[in-house]
């Protein structure tokens, strides 16, 4: 009798704890978003979004965060394009040019798993050593390289997942018509996997635009708009980081605004990926 009551009570208690945990998790997200919106919304105005900071070395009171917005877009955009080109090559190679059970394929995938877990500050430090070796200074190009390395595992893993879903019969049909591996890869495979690939690119972009530690060493920071691959460039995460700690409230406002813009971009990407998958599936088989 008591065991029966006991076990049901235990069930009730555990269920209660589980619900509390879930509320905790969901609640944290809401708290974070709320903080960003509450602080960032008042700071957001047209001037903030369309002007660069003025008045001396990003501690000046006037101006906005356009330098950071443009810089982040340039950094993440460049890095995403670079890692897409590299990643597509690797993913297609693993899917179409190599025997599935081969040791080399296994090694590459293991490597990618490992790279996926590398902290972004290590990519930043590595990027820094590369820059030193090449006698370059912190610049847009340096930041792009470091971010591309960061995005690469996300890109390849995502693309492979999408490509795994291409039906074998489609591959066979293309080969049966006498197409080469390259032709099958570019004309059939990529088209079939296109919506998924675009989604992966967006996800990689989102990962890249939010990262601070890897661009800290490699991209530098500046008040100015990005105007050259070889000059330092501002970025939204660093805009938040550097400007949050100042005693000047006007500068802090810029930090809040940058944080809000960053969150809006990331949330926007999330929504966009869901919409795009639906729209781009027009030509895709099955």
């Amino acid at each position: 009798m008591s065991t029966s009551v006991g076990k049901h009570l235990e069930e009730r208690i555990m269920l209660g704890l589980m619900i509390v945990s879930t509320v905790l998790v969901v609640g944290s997200l809401l708290l974070i978003l709320a903080t960003v919106v509450v602080k960032g919304a008042p700071a957001l105005n047209l001037a903030m979004l369309t002007q660069v900071p003025r008045g001396g070395y990003y501690l000046g009171k006037e101006g906005g965060i356009l330098n950071a917005i443009a810089g982040s877009l340039a950094l993440a955009g460049g890095a995403t394009v670079l890692s897409f080109l590299l990643g597509l090559g690797v993913a297609l190679y693993l899917q179409l040019f190599v025997r599935q059970g081969s040791r080399f394929a296994h090694l590459v995938r293991l490597s990618l798993d490992v790279l996926w877990g590398v902290p972004s500050i290590v990519y930043g430090a590595f990027g820094f050593t590369l820059l030193l070796m090449l006698k370059m200074r912190a610049s847009l190009l340096g930041g792009i390289i470091a971010l591309a390395l960061l995005e690469l595992p996300v890109m390849v893993r995502g693309m492979e997942e999408v490509m795994e879903m291409v039906p074998f019969g489609l591959k066979e049909a293309s080969y049966a018509l006498g197409a080469t591996r390259l032709e099958t890869a570019l004309r059939v495979f990529v088209r079939q996997a296109a919506p998924g690939i675009v989604t992966v690119m967006l996800l990689a972009f989102g990962r890249g635009i939010g990262d601070a530690a890897s661009v800290l060493f490699t991209a530098g920071y500046t008040d100015r708009m990005p105007n050259s691959l070889l000059r330092p460039v501002a970025s939204l995460p660093l805009a938040v980081f550097f400007q949050l700690g100042t005693p000047l409230p006007e500068v802090q406002q810029r930090a809040y605004a940058a944080a809000l813009v960053l969150v809006v971009i990331v949330l926007g990407i999330s929504l966009l990926t869901r919409l795009l998958v639906r729209r781009l599936s027009r030509y895709v088989v099955r």
Binding site: T22, D113, S120, I121, T129
Partner: protein
């Protein structure tokens, strides 16, 4: 005839080019280790790695470098974060996998994915604006009054910036990783086992605890290890709330200086003090090697689990 040959050559060339790319990716990790080690060499020639890892003397201007303080800081923060994160994550994952109605599940999962996408600095911002004040105004006074006797909870630092704050922020950051992997692993447990337990009269929870969790255990451990690995290397959010005081911590209210924060805070002076750049890059190397070890450990655990199941 030559058009056909051109097609064949294009195919072969493309295969070779892509193969080279894949090879570069395969050796990239190795290359990163080598590059960092090369840069750290000047320091390693003077100080042995063992000394580097176990000394707590950090006086760059005098040429004395020891990582112990910073490693201790990282360990404290990460362990606290995991202690705070693992129980709610497991419960939440179990709830989503076993109890939640399908509609609720499909509403909550995207929210968790969203958490994963939030940038590190935004977590840091939240930490500075919400967590630190909360600890300073609410938790610290309470702890000082009632819990002062417990060694790990002594309050010597009233600012709110410290291990507790970064533990909380970091815990929320690893929620998505642990929950999603755990949930997947739990759902992979075959339904037949569930049926068998329930048919014997077990409650849902008894079934979960006794059967599902036991079966999914390796996967859950792998999820936790992955979360640990992610937390260990996290830089920005932690840096903004941990206080950045180079001391070996004695209480969760103390400030600390984790290894990633060390690297990030001092990169500006790296080139101006002799051997400073070697030291910081050696720190990055240490970080990388530790994270590598955890990643491989997680993979081995999963592999072992898969082999046992088949």
């Amino acid at each position: 005839m030559s058009a056909k040959r051109w097609r064949r050559s294009k195919d072969r060339l493309a295969g070779r080019a892509m193969g080279t790319l894949a090879l570069l990716v395969a050796v990239l990790v190795f290359f990163i280790v080598v590059a960092l080690a090369a840069r750290a060499r000047p320091l390693l020639d003077i100080q042995s790695p063992v000394e580097l890892l176990t000394s707590s003397e950090w006086h760059p201007l005098q040429g004395k470098f020891g990582f112990l303080t910073f490693i201790a800081g990282t360990v404290w923060v990460t362990v606290l974060a995991m202690a705070l994160a693992v129980p709610p994550c497991l419960l939440c994952a179990i709830y989503l996998a076993e109890y939640a109605p399908r509609r609720l599940r499909s509403a909550i999962k995207p929210i968790i994915d969203l958490l994963a996408g939030i940038p590190s600095v935004v977590y840091g911002l939240w930490g500075v604006l919400m967590v630190v004040p909360f600890i300073r105004e609410v938790v610290t006074p309470l702890a000082a009054q009632h819990l002062g006797a417990i060694p790990l909870l002594r309050v010597d630092n009233p600012t709110g910036y410290g291990i507790l704050a970064s533990g909380v922020v970091l815990a929320v950051m690893v929620f998505p990783v642990i929950i999603s992997v755990t949930e997947e692993v739990i759902r992979a447990v075959p339904d037949g086992m569930r049926e068998a337990a329930l048919a014997l009269g077990a409650t849902r929870w008894q079934m979960v605890e006794g059967v599902v969790l036991r079966r999914a255990l390796p996967g859950v451990i792998a999820a936790v290890v992955l979360g640990f690995s992610r937390a260990f290397g996290e830089t920005m959010a932690v840096m903004m709330v941990v206080g950045n005081v180079p001391q070996i911590p004695r209480s969760i209210f103390d400030a600390a200086y984790p290894l990633p924060a060390l690297i990030a805070n001092n990169y500006g002076e790296m080139m101006s003090i002799p051997l400073y750049d070697s030291a910081l890059l050696a720190a990055a190397l240490v970080l990388l090697l530790i994270v590598l070890a955890f990643t491989i450990a997680a993979r081995v655990i999963l592999l072992h689990a898969v082999r046992r199941a088949t």
